[in-house]
Symmetry: C2
Subunit: 345 residues, 2 copies
């Protein structure tokens, strides 16, 4: 095998030599600096193309300037939920010629917010935080360091920082109201991890709808879960075992709703004739399960895209005020919900 070196060996100096200019000029051409004569620019560009020159990002980053890489911090990749958001991010990033660096926080080392701050120094131009567990840990440092970032799906805490989320409260309110209008009076609720703002908002929306419609809140009807499927099963089971079981169950996300569906069926009950079930998120498989799940759609991909846009905006206009956006959720009625009066007595 011929001992050939990495083709990437082409450096700015070689381009400069071959084009008969100084390396400074080449740099200017690369960065679209206006102070270059058109024909010089042309010539240099040609040489760059010819030699297959690609800038070394390390060196560029070292100087403290733009890396054109955006960092994404995500809890993990296990659920399709994160995947949808990532997809949106990636799509938008592609439009702007940015690359993506993904860090998953389930690794112990990265758990320390300080580590993150250091890590990203120079590596990425900005940070997208998906569902951070303790957002305050990061936001403090990041804000302090004046480092651009946007929170995704976590507008819970009070501190003011750029974030995009969904109208969790409104979505849960609407869904609960829909159930009430269907005639349900005993509506079970399975919460998400209560340390997440979204979970709190959804529970609040549920409670508010109940209250507005003068249905007393029954603590027995609220089961605390953590957004994972087994909690849905456990929650569904617990709710169904009540002396006066609910006629409908509203789970704080789709995977828990599916867990609850298993619990319902496991007891020989029918969906939706005996028990209605409603989820949150509208992940792809919700449309595919039988019966198809009625749920509250969260525009995950859109959230990813928007957050990315906001971040890139920040990068371009560092002085612009920060904004927090809430994208609307939408009730998607499918086959898992029905009026309780339709039940065979």
């Amino acid at each position: 095998m011929a001992k050939k070196d990495v083709p990437s060996k082409v450096t700015i100096v070689e381009v400069a030599e071959k084009a008969g200019v100084s390396l400074g000029t080449v740099s200017r051409v690369m960065n679209n600096d206006i102070h270059v004569a058109p024909d010089t620019r042309e010539r240099v560009a040609a040489v760059m193309r010819e030699m297959g020159y690609v800038a070394n990002r390390q060196a560029r980053g070292l100087k403290g300037s733009r890396t054109n890489v955006i960092g994404v911090l995500a809890p993990d990749l296990g659920t399709g939920y994160i995947g949808e958001i990532l997809h949106g991010i990636d799509t938008e990033l592609g439009l702007h010629q940015f690359d993506l660096m993904l860090f998953t926080t389930h690794r112990t080392a990265i758990k320390e917010a300080n580590y993150v701050a250091n890590l990203v120094k120079g590596m990425v131009d900005g940070l997208l935080l998906i569902l951070p567990r303790n957002p305050a840990d990061y936001t403090g440092i990041l804000t302090n360091a004046n480092f651009p970032f946007v929170l995704i799906d976590h507008q819970g805490t009070g501190s003011l920082c750029p974030a995009v989320g969904a109208t969790n409260w409104q979505g849960a309110y609407n869904a609960t109201e829909y159930l009430i209008k269907l005639g349900h009076k005993r509506i079970g609720f399975i919460t998400g991890s209560m340390d997440l703002g979204a979970a709190i908002d959804r529970l609040d929306g549920y409670k508010s709808a109940l209250q507005v419609h003068h249905i007393p809140e029954d603590p027995q009807l609220i089961y605390e879960g953590t957004f994972f499927q087994p909690d849905g099963y456990a929650g569904g089971s617990a709710l169904l075992d009540l002396d006066d079981p609910p006629t409908a169950i509203f789970a704080s996300n789709d995977v828990m709703a599916m867990g609850a569906m298993d619990a319902i069926r496991g007891r020989g009950l029918r969906i939706p004739e005996d028990v209605s079930i409603l989820g949150f998120d509208d992940i792809p498989q919700s449309a595919m399960v039988r019966p198809a799940l009625t749920t509250v759609r969260q525009p995950l991909e859109h959230m990813g895209r928007l957050a990315t846009q906001m971040l890139i905006d920040q990068l371009k206009n560092p002085e612009k005020g920060i904004d927090r956006v809430e994208l609307p959720t939408q009730l998607i009625v499918r086959d898992s919900t029905l009026s309780p009066k339709d039940r065979a007595g």
Copy 2:
């Protein structure tokens, strides 16, 4: 709030000063160089911890040494399929203190293999290629540059390079044979993108099983798809419209199987009583659709983990021979398949 500067401002020089040594020594401590007196090492380490020092990867990478970042090239993030593999990669990477840099090839710029080679120069220590469209484009350059990489799910081409895949041929063979033993004689097949090795292998497995069991191959029963759901619907429809329609349909992946299920139901036919349906991959929702999908499980996450291990191995032992691994697939029988004789005449 105290006006604190970026914590990341801590550099090797400052650690050196505070520890009363030269920056060279600090560097040695960081890199576990043996030539450091135990107590010196201790002292320096303490200062590093105290100051929250974290090495700047850019600078380190610039020098041509390890970056502890692995690059992943994936076609896109749209399907859960890639997500599963990524999850495996990420998990394994976490175990070895590597970070992950993700590039998606649906972006035009990155399509050029040369660009990739240049790009990764110094940025990542190795590359994981998921389902590359034209693997030869990359493997040539990468091999030539002596750059460590592993192909995932693409062992199709002849060139010898490290790869992990699944036994696509065997999986398709077994599944087809299972259908035949159930009594099916007319088995429709929906292919994947035929430019992918996996798709070819699956089709071949199907054909071989037919041949072994002396069932004539009927070109009409083979519909060419591209691994996306709409193809499943179109393929299912086309197959069902045949004068002598199949009693079972085997789709080259689960999402196409689900598309086909829609087509079947759209014609008022029942699954599996009227038509059996079988998929490939065993993505999460396959267990959740009704009827639950019989499918060939591909150990996606495991493939991701294994490929990562192989890559890290390469990094540690550059001289080791390359190996290609095929992980076994497994037939998962669920509710979407039945003997044709059970059909109501």
